[in-house]
């Protein structure tokens, strides 16, 4: 294991950087889309409700691998475009995670007591103003732990980039494993890098959750 670390550390660090960057970018974009879909869901407009509902129902029930491969192989075949593995992977991650984040944010919005919306309306704010000033800030606070957990999941899920030459930890892990024949060592080293990101986050989220429970 040590040998793999010392011999391949620059590759590993690059891969680690890619995994981290892809995860963070995908998370931010999914958060944006997810929030929009969540607002669609709680709005009174039936069409928007439907869009949000169908999206979530559709993409949370299809494996990420299938979504990603679809964008990497099937779409370029039909449209005659070139998408590199990192981008196809990120698109897959965003499409997939958005469905989960939409649900999380929606639950958050619905967890804000109805009285808050009413209080906002009662003091003359419009629906969207109330959402912006009063409901969303509280909803996001409520959903910090599940969002954090979703990010952890997303980091782990980013390992499907290994299937599409996404230059991430999993991809290089496979290559190093194939080259050194030290499968156990290579994959454990790779696991370690994932754990460096996810385990502390895991504890941080648990901590925040406990603190919020006490408040």
């Amino acid at each position: 294991m040590i040998e793999i670390l010392t011999k391949h550390y620059s590759t590993l660090l690059t891969a680690f950087g890619h995994t981290l960057a892809i995860s963070m970018i995908s998370m931010l974009v999914s958060l944006l889309f997810g929030t929009i879909l969540a607002m669609f869901h709680v709005s009174k407009n039936k069409a928007l409700n439907k869009i949000s509902g169908y999206y979530v129902e559709c993409f949370k029930n299809i494996p990420l691998l299938v979504i990603t491969m679809f964008f990497y192989i099937a779409i370029p075949m039909v449209l005659d475009i070139k998408v590199n593995g990192m981008i196809a992977g990120a698109i897959g991650l965003v499409i997939y995670s958005t469905s989960f984040i939409a649900e999380i944010v929606r639950t958050g919005i619905q967890a804000v007591p109805a009285g808050q919306l009413e209080a906002g309306l009662a003091s003359g704010f419009s629906y969207w103003e109330t959402m912006y000033h009063i409901v969303l800030p509280q909803a996001f606070k409520i959903v910090i732990p599940p969002l954090g957990n979703q990010f952890i999941t997303l980091v782990k899920d980013s390992s499907v980039l290994g299937f599409v030459a996404g230059m991430d930890l999993m991809y290089y892990g496979d290559l190093i494993a194939g080259e050194t024949f030290n499968m156990m060592g290579s994959y454990l080293v790779i696991s370690m890098f994932y754990v460096i990101i996810t385990l502390p986050l895991n504890y941080l989220m648990a901590h925040i959750e406990r603190k919020m429970e006490m408040a």
């Binding site: 990497y72 075949m77 590199n84 299937f163 030459a165 496979d174 194939g178 024949f181």
Partner: protein, 239 residues
């Protein structure tokens, strides 16, 4: 504790389990309707099985990809791997090989309208696809280090990405590439073969007796012309 392959065969259980690639036309492809694997490698395996056990019917096939070939013998899932597997020193440290039964060679294919005519035309802007865990990808580091590579779990996945336009070229064994092109038009070789790839049958390290038996069998089918017949049957039209 487990019986060696020869002990098992001698005790009457004559089945030999061969691991082979099933997504490479000509070399080895699964017919999903019959469940039979057809191709050069599997025919060789059948011939060897016949020599050793008396019947080609004793050959059983399981599906591998380039990436998990070594694991198949190490995990005792198969008795032997026959899958255009190049004999290399590195691999010898993990598994044992029989004598070589065929010498293939690395080559490169590109879309017909590509500007790439030979390996020398590869640049930092031309992406080369290949399968994870193949000698080709290692070779690339010395023969065309400037060209970026993208590696996939199987040969067919690598070829599919070439079709999808995700790569500019795809490198593998010439026979594998021939197989791919036999099914899909629009691609051509870019230059000739680049390396020699002697294929051996990979076995677990404690299977000396089985290896001897296989080596003898290989010699037999080479001498009696069976090997040449099989080669002609699968590759004859494409050379």
């Amino acid at each position: 504790s487990e019986k060696s392959v020869m002990e098992r065969i001698e005790s009457g259980d004559k089945k030999i389990v061969w691991a082979t690639n099933v997504t490479t036309p000509l070399v080895g492809q699964l017919n999903v309707e019959t469940g039979k694997v057809a191709g050069y490698d599997s025919d060789v395996a059948r011939a060897l099985t016949e020599v050793i056990t008396g019947s080609a019917e004793n050959a059983i096939f399981v599906e591998v990809s380039s990436q998990n070939r070594v694991a198949f013998v190490k995990n005792n899932i198969a008795d032997a791997v026959i899958s255009t597997m190049t004999i290399t020193d590195e691999r010898e440290k993990q598994v044992d090989f029989t004598d070589s039964y065929y010498i293939g060679g690395q080559a490169l294919i590109v879309p017909e309208d590509s500007d790439i005519q030979a390996i020398e035309d590869l640049t930092a802007d031309t992406i080369v696809a290949g399968a994870k865990g193949t000698t080709m990808m290692l070779n690339m580091k010395t023969i065309a280090p400037q060209a970026p590579t993208r590696e996939y779990d199987t040969e067919s996945e690598a070829f599919t990405t070439l079709i999808a336009g995700q790569a500019d070229a795809y490198t593998s064994d010439n026979v594998v590439l021939m197989g791919m092109m036999s099914k899909t038009s629009g691609f051509r070789f870019a230059g000739g073969r680049i390396t020699d790839e002697p294929y051996g049958i990979a076995l677990n390290e404690d299977e000396d007796e089985f290896r001897e038996e296989l080596n003898e069998a290989i010699a037999i089918i080479r001498e009696n012309g069976t090997l040449a017949e099989i080669e002609e049957k699968w590759f004859g039209d494409y050379y």
